[in-house]
């Protein structure tokens, strides 16, 4: 990727300014297409009726939640291994956005489950794994909220992200095993292959729309974080200047 070329923040800011309008336009377009397809093109599912339409935001939410952690892991490597100056900025800004999408996945999952299983929350293997992922996101955000100096928090957050990334498959496996241990496989199974093509197409378009939204928010959040760190540096300079007074 072009990470290395964006080494210094000002060039990234310039690129971000140019890129954002296009990204925003593409996101809007993708959502228009996706929502149209989701509500007008996709047939109702023979089993769940119209609630299948919730899939179109539930599944992309889960994908984006996991994509977010993947991006953070790359950024964590950037901080620890390649010492890339923007890596910590990339890591810190991806967390709230990833957490938001994971939250969307959980909420839509609960709302979708209500008609299916009669309660908002069922300790189904997939939902539980996403919940653990959400808790890991909150843990990282709590870490940044606890340490004022970004440089000090950077290394700790990077290590925590990588440890989390390594643990995600283990958590996924253990939760699956845990849920099958206690409960028959959940009533409704949305496997990749069993999705009816008529539903798959809108799902993919919505997934694209969500990904573009993630990208737009991510680039602008990174731009904000760079400005926030610049403000912090200037304020330290201001205090130092007052020292001389």
């Amino acid at each position: 990727m072009e990470w290395i070329a964006l080494a210094n923040p000002s060039r990234f800011l310039a690129l971000a300014e140019r890129l954002l309008p296009w990204l925003a336009a593409a996101t809007a377009l993708a959502f228009a297409a996706g929502l149209y397809a989701a509500f007008f093109v996709a047939p109702e599912d023979y089993q769940q009726g119209a609630t299948v339409r919730i899939i179109f935001i539930h599944v992309p939410g889960a994908w984006l939640g996991m994509l977010g952690w993947a991006i953070m892991s790359v950024a964590a490597l950037g901080t620890l291994v390649w010492r890339h100056p923007l890596a910590d900025v990339a890591l810190k800004t991806a967390a709230p956005i990833g957490a938001a999408f994971t939250f969307v996945c959980l909420v839509t999952g609960a709302l979708w489950g209500r008609p299916m299983w009669g309660t908002y929350w069922v300790w189904d293997a997939r939902l539980t794994s996403v919940l653990v992922l959400f808790l890991m996101y909150l843990g990282l955000i709590a870490l940044w909220r606890a340490i004022e100096d970004p440089a000090r928090a950077a290394r700790a957050a990077a290590v925590l992200t990588l440890v989390g990334a390594v643990n995600l498959p283990i958590i996924k496996f253990s939760v699956d095993w845990w849920s099958t241990l206690h409960q028959p496989a959940s009533v409704f199974r949305v496997g990749g292959s069993t999705i009816h093509p008529a539903i798959l197409a809108p799902l993919l378009v919505m997934a694209l729309a969500f990904t573009l939204l993630f990208a737009t928010l991510y680039v602008s959040a990174m731009r904000n974080e760079i400005l926030r760190r610049r403000v912090r540096t200037l304020r330290l300079l201001q205090v130092h200047a007052a020292q001389g007074a």
Partner: protein, 203 residues
């Protein structure tokens, strides 16, 4: 106003730090506590501030309004600067002014100007250097008017300008019939100050 202590004894951790120490300080006077480290200078100041219970002896404050205890009429400037890093410089000073305040005194904004921190008023206190943090503590002395000043090596982290500022603030306090008890190694430039030597070899 007259602050006096008689036969004061301090025991810390089972060891007697000093015994039968007496002193008297009148309004407009300064008393410097001298002596090696561990002689109990800080302990005596904390004892006067009511932060440390004397093993023996007593402290009297004559001539001040007697509805306020000694501690409520004293400023204590210790080694530590009581500042919260996540609060701004102004917020820290405004808090202490309201908490310790009796209404009289320069007030926080004027105090910041006196100590030269007015331009960093809204920055987090965590960004300040050690010298600036000490100046902010000195601003507390200026912002809230309390007659008795108990200063524990006030000039330790201050540069030349800082020490000059401290000297000026202390002289103004003495001129206003204030009273200073200061433990110090460096000369504080208070020429008419009397001295109390601690740490003579104990029997």
């Amino acid at each position: 106003m007259r602050l006096s202590g008689s036969e004061l004894e301090c025991v810390r951790g089972g060891k007697r730090v000093f015994a039968n120490i007496g002193f008297a300080v009148g309004a407009g006077e300064a008393l410097l506590l001298l002596g090696p480290n561990g002689a109990g200078k800080s302990s005596l100041l904390r004892m006067v501030a009511g932060l440390l219970r004397p093993a023996a002896g007593s402290l009297e404050l004559a001539g001040a309004n007697c509805d306020r205890s000694l501690a409520e009429q004293a400023h204590y400037l210790g080694h530590l600067d009581p500042l919260k890093s996540s609060l701004s410089v102004g917020e820290n000073l405004r808090f202490w002014t309201r908490f310790l305040g009796g209404g009289r005194g320069e007030g926080p904004d004027e105090a910041l100007r006196v100590v030269g921190l007015e331009r960093v008023g809204d920055l987090p206190a965590g960004y300040l250097s050690a010298g600036q943090r000490r100046r902010l503590s000195i601003a507390r002395l200026v912002a809230v008017e309390r007659p008795i000043w108990l200063l524990d090596e006030p000039a330790s982290v201050l540069d030349a300008d800082g020490q000059a500022l401290l000297g000026e603030v202390m002289r103004r306090h003495l001129a206003a019939d204030g009273l200073i008890l200061a433990a110090t190694h460096a000369p504080l430039g208070l020429d008419p100050a009397r001295e109390l030597r601690l740490g003579a070899v104990l029997p």
